[in-house]
C-alpha cells in the first residue's frame, strides 16, 4: 500500500499490523539525544523545531554521504531506546514512527490512545533504504552529528506496520503463530 505524509486519520484507520507500506513525502529523523531535547521543549511549553502534527519520525543515524550521494546508508535503529520519550511526542501530535524492534506496552497503549502507527523498516537494509531518500535538509541540532534532526524527502520508503490503532502487534501475534512449542518451554 502506498501512503503519503503527513498522515491523516483516514489513512491511519486503514492500516493494519502486517501491512507492507511505501511511504512518500517528508519524514523527520531523530534519535536518543534529539528526543531528549524535543521532550524538554514540550515540557517547557516551547515550540518544536518542526511542526510535528501528523508527521513521522524515523529513528536513524546514517553513514556519511559519499560524494554524489544525498545520504549514506540509512537503516533503522532500535526503537525501544526512544520509548520513554514517545508518549509525550504522540500527545503533541506525532502520528508515525519508523524504527526496528518492539516497543514497550506503555508505548503501544499511547499509540492506540493517540491514533498513531508504529512502522518497522528492515534493520540492516541501509543501502536499500537510502535509495528511497531523495533529499535531506538539516532542521536542528547540528551539534549532535549523526543525531541531527533532518527532514528527508522520501519516495516509496519501504516499511511494515507493526502496531496499529486497533491494538494489533505484528511481532507478538506473528511470532506466536510460527512458534512450534515442544520441549523448549
Amino acid at each position: 500500500m502506498k501512503i503519503t505524509t503527513p498522515l491523516t486519520d483516514e489513512v491511519i484507520e486503514n492500516l493494519r499490523s502486517g501491512d507492507q507500506v511505501y511511504i512518500t513525502g517528508k519524514i523527520y529523523t531523530a534519535r536518543d539525544a534529539a528526543h531528549k531535547r524535543l521532550v524538554e521543549l514540550l515540557k517547557n511549553n516551547q515550540p518544536l523545531p518542526f511542526d510535528i502534527k501528523g508527521q513521522i519520525i524515523y529513528y536513524v543515524g546514517p553513514t556519511p554521504a559519499k560524494p554524489g550521494q544525498v545520504i549514506g546508508s540509512a537503516g533503522p535503529t532500535t526503537s525501544s531506546r526512544m520509548d520513554p520519550y514517545t508518549p509525550v511526542l504522540l500527545e503533541a501530535g506525532l502520528k508515525g514512527m519508523i524504527g526496528k524492534g518492539e516497543r514497550r506496552d506503555y508505548v503501544k497503549e499511547a499509540i492506540v490512545k493517540h491514533k498513531a502507527i508504529y512502522f518497522a523498516a528492515i534493520g540492516g537494509a541501509g543501502a536499500l533504504i537510502a535509495r528511497t531518500i531523495r533529499s535531506v535538509k538539516t532542521i536542528a541540532y547540528e551539534d549532535l552529528g549523526a543525531e541531527t534532526i533532518r527532514e528527508l524527502e522520501v519516495v516509496d520508503f519501504p516499511a511494515f506496520v507493526v502496531n496499529d490503532i486497533y491494538g494489533n502487534d505484528l511481532m507478538l501475534d506473528n511470532i506466536s503463530k510460527y512458534r512450534m512449542e515442544d520441549k523448549n518451554e
Binding site: T63, G72, G75, I122, G124, R131, N174, Y178, N184
Partner: protein
C-alpha cells in the same frame, strides 16, 4: 625471520574495514538465499527479499550494507618467524582511522563508556592476538554493530546444568532478543575455559565460515540441535514471525575447571561482516 612493513599492515586494515562493510561474503549471502527458500511466512519472505536486495545494492554501489558500521574487532595471528619493530596496535588503529574516513563509514565509538564522547574516527579497535607457528601475519577483521552485540551474554552455569542447561540458556537468550539483533542471526557460542575465555570462544566461533561444522562431536550435535530449535521459536526475519530465525549456530569449546561451566552467547546479525587477509 620475515620483516612485515608497517605500511602493509595499515593499508590492509584500511581495505578490510571498507570491504567488510560494503561486500558481504558469499557464504552469508548463500545462506540468506537458502533461508529465503525455506521461509514459510509471507512477511518473512518479503523481509528476506529486501535484505538480499540490500546486500546486492551495497555490493554494486560500493556502499555500507548497514548504517551501523560497527566497532572493529581484529584477530591477529602472528607467526613466530615474523619480525615487527613497531607498535602493531597503533598500526591497526591507523588503518581503522583511514578506513572509516575514506570509506565513508559511520564513527560509532565513544572514548569513555560513561561520559560517551565520540572518538571521531572509530578507533580504537578491539584487538586479540595469538602467536602461531610460521612466517605470516593473518588479520581477521569484523566490524560489529551494537544491535546484535547488545543481545549477547556470558553466564557461569554449574556442571550439573550440563548439555540441556546450555541449550536452555541459548534458547532463552535468543527468544528474549526477538527482532532486536536483526535476524536471521548467526549464533556464536563459547563453552568452557574461564569467564573471559568463553566470551572470546563465542566471538571466534562467529569467524568460522557459515557452512563449517565443528570437529568436536558434542559441539557438532549442539550446533545441529540448536539451529533446529531456534528456528522453531517463531521469531523469523527481523522478528516479524517466521521459521528462519538463525542461519547457523557455531559452537567452540575449551577445557575448563572441574567445578565450572562458563557459557557465552554472542549474537551476530544478518549483516555478518568479516574479512581475512594473510600477509
Amino acid at each position: 625471520m620475515r620483516y612485515i612493513e608497517r605500511d602493509l599492515v595499515v593499508e590492509a586494515v584500511e581495505r578490510l574495514c571498507i570491504e567488510a562493510n560494503y561486500y558481504i561474503e558469499d557464504d552469508v549471502l548463500n545462506a540468506l538465499k537458502r533461508s529465503r527458500k525455506l521461509e514459510t511466512s509471507p512477511i518473512g519472505q518479503k523481509v528476506l527479499d529486501q535484505i538480499i536486495e540490500n546486500d546486492f545494492i551495497a555490493r554494486n554501489d560500493s556502499v555500507p550494507m548497514c548504517q551501523d558500521t560497527g566497532m572493529v574487532v581484529v584477530f591477529l595471528e602472528i607467526g613466530n618467524l615474523i619480525h615487527i619493530d613497531y607498535d602493531i596496535y597503533d598500526a591497526i588503529n591507523e588503518g581503522v582511522r583511514n578506513g572509516y574516513l575514506h570509506g565513508y563509514l559511520r564513527k560509532s565509538v565513544v572514548k569513555h563508556p560513561l561520559d560517551r564522547v565520540n572518538t571521531g574516527d572509530n578507533t580504537p579497535a578491539v584487538i586479540h592476538t595469538k602467536i602461531v607457528m610460521g612466517n605470516s601475519l593473518t588479520i581477521t577483521l569484523a566490524p560489529k554493530g551494537a544491535g546484535s552485540e547488545n543481545m549477547s551474554l556470558v553466564k557461569m552455569l554449574t556442571p550439573a546444568d550440563g548439555y540441556e542447561g546450555v541449550k536452555k540458556l541459548v534458547l532463552d537468550t535468543i527468544f528474549d532478543a526477538k527482532g532486536k539483533p536483526c535476524p536471521p542471526i548467526i549464533v556464536g557460542i563459547g563453552i568452557g575455559g574461564t569467564f573471559e575465555k568463553c566470551a572470546l570462544l563465542a566471538k571466534e566461533a562467529l569467524m568460522r565460515p557459515i557452512d563449517d561444522v565443528s570437529e568436536d562431536p558434542i559441539a557438532r550435535k549442539l550446533e545441529e540441535e540448536l539451529l533446529e530449535e531456534i528456528n522453531k521459536l517463531g521469531i523469523g526475519p527481523l522478528g516479524f514471525g517466521g521459521t528462519q530465525t538463525a542461519l547457523a549456530v557455531k559452537v567452540n569449546v575449551y577445557p575448563c575447571h572441574i567445578a565450572s561451566l562458563p557459557v557465552a552467547v554472542n549474537t551476530q546479525c544478518h549483516a555478518a561482516r568479516h574479512k581475512k587477509i594473510v600477509l
